[in-house]
């Protein structure tokens, strides 16, 4: 039975939320989530690539021969990743500086290739856009949530967005006397936080 457009969109937000339910695409999840801002930025970049690669794969699905489909998907995805990288360097350079190496790595993010293979290659353009947006926004939310947890305890701040002149967010959430756990913003802290969040997600789902 074919699902409706809304169902395709909302499944990515909770039911199949990529990092927590499918445990996919963990490299950026662990790597960039030192602040909320980085998480949101990385999530949006991935969403952009995901939506456009889904559109292109869905519209070319009758032309792409089955035997070389993965190669074609990778060309499409790689193109959009480089587009994202160049646009970020040209327009949001400070964010590019922070995300750095993780932007080119979107190419090998298995969520993007996974959606192209499992969804866009078999469905029409409208459904594919809904799917890409849903999964992408779900990914962004997961990164932001993990980033919030790590930044809150690791740096005592919550930055939503920074412009060259001002910062949107709360500094020193727990007051100036709070000594941040630097552990949380380092790599092992990412694993611990992700583990705890997976645990909470599974508890909520297991009733």
């Amino acid at each position: 039975m074919a699902k409706t457009l809304t169902q395709e969109f909302t499944k990515g937000l909770w039911e199949e939320i990529a990092p927590f339910r499918l445990v996919l695409g963990l490299c950026p999840v662990l790597g960039v989530t030192t602040t909320v801002e980085n998480g949101i930025g990385m999530g949006l970049a991935t969403t952009f690539v995901l939506v456009f690669s889904n559109i292109l794969v869905a519209s070319l699905r009758n032309i792409i021969p089955a035997k070389v489909r993965i190669a074609c998907f990778i060309i499409i995805i790689a193109t959009f990743v480089v587009v994202t990288e160049l646009l970020m360097q040209a327009f949001t350079y400070p964010l590019f500086l922070k995300l750095g190496v993780f932007i080119p790595l979107i190419v090998v993010n298995c969520i993007v290739l996974g959606r192209a293979e499992a969804f866009a290659y078999k469905n029409n353009i409208t459904l594919s856009i809904a799917d890409g947006l849903g999964i992408g926004i779900g990914f962004t939310l997961s990164l932001a949530a993990l980033g919030a947890l790590r930044e809150l305890f690791g740096a005592n701040n919550l930055t939503i967005w920074t412009t060259p002149t001002s910062v949107f967010g709360v500094q020193q959430v727990f007051g100036a006397n709070f000594e941040p756990f630097t552990f949380m913003v380092q790599a092992p802290g990412a694993f611990v936080c992700l583990g705890l969040m997976l645990c909470v997600m599974n508890l909520m789902g297991s009733k």
Partner: protein
């Protein structure tokens, strides 16, 4: 046979389109990206270490060939004299290369100041090299033709606590800058005359 041909044609066309699109976009954004790099990374660092210069060091820049590589230099003017040149260098840090801007007074071969630019060090530890004036100010007034080391390695530079590797990277970048400076000094003096 027919299938083979379709495969080759589809892949070729797709690759060609992608290549065309990307090279077009790259050309379109190249100048903008350079401006952004100067504005967000190199510019602030240069302005900080050349505080009090009467010219705009970002505008007064030039490039020199060093073997295969092209290096960029920025010029600083103090008290009506063009005597300071900023060079770029880098050292191996904890998370990748640490870029360093080193300003040198050409009259007495002393470091005017150094500033960290591009880096991928740990936030809160190594990354403080960029914001902590106490650490980089140790280089001020020191001779450029010297090999710098942190105190742990028998040198004179006090490392930042919790960031010894980053401190080492900054030291090796500073030493590196000294070598570039030594090699290119005649050409640099030649070039500086043009800015008078």
């Amino acid at each position: 046979m027919r299938e083979m041909v379709t495969m080759v044609v589809v892949l070729t066309v797709l690759s060609a389109l992608s290549g065309g699109l990307l090279s077009g976009l790259r050309n379109a954004t190249a100048s903008k990206i350079e401006v952004q790099q100067l504005k967000f990374v190199k510019g602030p660092a240069i302005k900080e270490i050349l505080k009090g210069a009467s010219n705009d060091p970002i505008a007064d820049r030039f490039a020199l060939k060093d073997g295969e590589m092209e290096r960029k230099f920025f010029v600083g003017k103090f008290d009506g004299k063009v005597n300071t040149v900023v060079l770029e260098s880098s050292g191996k840090g904890y998370g990748g290369d640490v870029g360093l801007m080193v300003a040198v007074n050409m009259e007495n071969d002393q470091i005017v100041g150094v500033g960290v630019t591009t880096h991928s060090e740990t936030p809160g530890l190594g990354a403080t090299a960029k914001d902590d004036p106490g650490f980089v100010s140790q280089f001020k007034g020191k001779p450029i033709n010297e090999t710098y080391k942190v105190t742990n390695d028998g040198g004179k530079i006090n490392a930042m606590s919790g960031a010894t590797i980053t401190s080492r990277a900054v030291c090796s970048a500073a030493s590196n800058a000294g070598m570039i400076y030594k090699k290119l000094k005649p050409q640099l003096e030649e070039k500086l005359k043009e800015f008078k």
